[in-house]
């Protein structure tokens, strides 16, 4: 799936990214690259900094050191000369529009129906016309298999349906990159499949994705690369089938023996 020329700028380029909360160093010099149309799966034990790294990519957290570059654009800061300037919130919001995010706990807006959830940001942020936005929202909901539930409130949807609405909501902004933070971890086992199916289709359509997950089957089948993180560092990375069947590091081995 990676037929992109190497001369092209990668979609995500993390260069020695570090992040601390107070004295707790959560990310220690993370470097990785995701090319256009690639799917990267990020795995690792709880507390290893996976969520924090995702949140840094769309500047929900600010990085302390290193550079995060999405589609050739530095995230969260403006570089002029050899100085970095903090970005205006308006600019940061503009950068986030192009980066979709799906959360473990869905975070749908409970006071809006599914279709309103999906149409909200295109209308308010992009200034799209209401009719167009709703038509498009219904299309997207149909794409995730929820055409008939478009007018339901989140509370009346199952977890799997809610997460699919959340995916449609993120897609409505036509992002160039999608971030998934354990999208199936809050779901009952029988509902996991429907969400993974939607994500797989999305990957096949050429979307660039970073997926934090414990679903190794998905990683093996869909991902182009797999990164194993522990204690805020990248321990091991490479082709998912390779890493999963033949892990090089002791820490990777012991983690995989627990989740597989």
């Amino acid at each position: 799936m990676t037929g992109t020329p190497t001369s092209e700028v990668p979609m995500v380029h993390a260069d020695r990214v570090s992040k601390s909360f107070g004295s707790l160093e959560v990310l220690k010099s993370i470097s990785l690259t995701v090319n256009r149309g690639e799917v990267l799966c990020l795995v690792g034990p709880s507390g290893s900094g996976k969520s924090t790294f995702l949140r840094c990519i769309n500047h929900l957290e600010r990085v302390d050191a290193g550079r995060l570059i999405v589609d050739g654009e530095l995230i969260g800061y403006v570089e002029r000369g050899d100085r970095l300037y903090e970005m205006h919130p308006r600019e940061a919001a503009r950068q986030r529009r192009d980066i979709g995010m799906v959360f473990q706990r869905f975070n749908l807006f409970p006071h809006m129906t599914a279709v309103e959830n999906v149409a909200e940001a295109p209308i308010r942020v992009k200034g799209m016309k209401k009719d167009d936005a709703y038509a498009r929202a219904r299309e997207l909901l149909a794409r995730v298999g929820l055409a008939s539930r478009a007018d339901a409130y989140p509370a009346h949807l199952s977890g799997g349906q809610q997460q699919r609405v959340a995916i449609a909501r993120a897609l409505a902004m036509e992002p160039k990159l999608m971030l998934f933070d354990e999208p199936t971890s809050a779901l009952d086992p029988e509902l996991v499949g429907e969400v993974l199916q939607v994500m797989k289709q999305l990957a096949e359509s050429g979307m660039t994705m970073i997926v934090v997950t414990h679903e190794m089957g998905f990683a093996r089948e869909v991902a182009d690369s797999l990164v194993f993180m522990d204690g805020g560092v990248v321990v091991e990375s490479g082709d998912p089938r390779e890493v999963l069947s033949n892990p090089q590091h002791q820490r990777t081995r012991s983690f995989l023996s627990k989740v597989l």
Binding site: R96, R97, M101, F103, N107, P110, R124, A155
Partner: protein, 316 residues
């Protein structure tokens, strides 16, 4: 849940537990009330004839309207200002935050009666309002007492005080909304204000409405303090004036009380319906697939469990 299968247990029909203590207690209370009423009916001081004469007096009903208007206007201003203040308090901007904090400190830290007296003196303190550049000849100049009458001074005084309390109520509502909501909106590229307006505040409503209802009821009664301004065309002020006129205070206190009670009762009914409306299942819990609220279908003691289940089923 199919009711009445062959192997369903038959509904429970138990003899109700008796509470003899309650009945005795209620009887004693009723007796005391009856004694009080009979006694009051014969007492001169209550002035029942004057009560009957003034309860629908034109001046009283006009004053009741004024009290209502004072309540509505000052509450409306207080709610808007309260939302603004609470949003300011939660802002990242330390200046904005500080201003809101200062406002709350002043307006919650001094009695409303004193604040009303201050507003009454505003025309004395600032006899003219000048618009222009400081220390230069003003472009426009007004006599303060000509631009603003005591009614509006009373409204301002009540509203600014109440806004400080409303701000706290709104803040509690905003803080009750799950952090993930703001995060999701931010991740969609929505700005902070847009997130507040479209995502956070509508959800905070459920928490904000009930105490706001209480504030409205409380405001209705607080309007009786506008004598401090002094504004005396409100319900209590008018009743007091008439009482002085006819040298009979008690019946007019009763007249005023009756009107206040009428209004608070209406407001309480309104509050009940508002609360019901805003507490409708909008929670994000995964198991809230039921349409009505749980309290709608609590089975009565006498009714069988199967009928309650059926009622729930019909409600869908």
């Amino acid at each position: 849940m199919p009711p009445g299968g062959a192997d369903t247990a038959e509904p429970i029909r138990a003899i109700r537990l008796k509470h003899p203590g309650r009945i005795v207690f209620a009887a004693v209370l009723l007796l005391m009330l009856a004694l009080f009423v009979i006694d009051a009916a014969q007492r001169e001081a209550y002035g029942w004839d004057n009560l009957a004469k003034y309860i629908f007096d034109k001046r009283i009903s006009q004053a009741a309207l004024n009290t209502l208007l004072l309540t509505i206007y000052s509450m409306a201003i207080a709610i808007v200002l309260g939302v603004v203040l609470s949003v300011m308090r939660l802002s990242d901007n330390p200046v904005v935050k500080g201003v809101a904090w200062l406002y709350l400190w002043v307006f919650r830290g001094t009695p409303v009666y004193v604040q009303l007296a201050f507003w009454g003196l505003i025309a004395t303190i600032y006899s003219t309002i000048d618009i222009g550049i400081p220390f230069m000849e003003p472009w426009l100049s007004f006599e303060t007492k000509n631009v603003i009458d005591v009614f509006w001074l009373a409204v301002i005084g009540l509203a600014l005080n109440e806004a400080a309390y409303m701000a706290e109520i709104v803040r509690a509502g905003i803080l009750s909304v799950d952090k993930g909501q703001e995060e999701a909106a931010t991740a969609l590229g929505m700005g902070w204000l847009l997130t507040m307006r479209r995502v956070v505040l509508p959800q905070a409503m459920r928490i904000i409405i009930p105490p706001t209802g209480n504030e409205v009821i409380s405001m209705l009664k607080t309007t009786s303090l506008v004598a401090a301004v002094p504004f005396s065309f409100d319900l209590y002020g008018r009743a007091r004036d008439i009482a002085v006129e006819i040298f009979d205070p008690v019946p007019l206190l009763l007249v005023a009380s009756a009107w206040y009670l009428l209004f608070t009762s209406i407001l309480m009914i309104g509050q009940y319906f508002l609360e019901r409306r805003f507490s409708r299942g909008v929670g994000q819990a995964r198991d809230t697939r039921r349409v009505g609220t749980a309290t709608d279908v609590i089975p009565t003691v006498t009714g069988s469990v199967t009928t309650a289940d059926k009622a729930e089923g019909d409600g869908r």
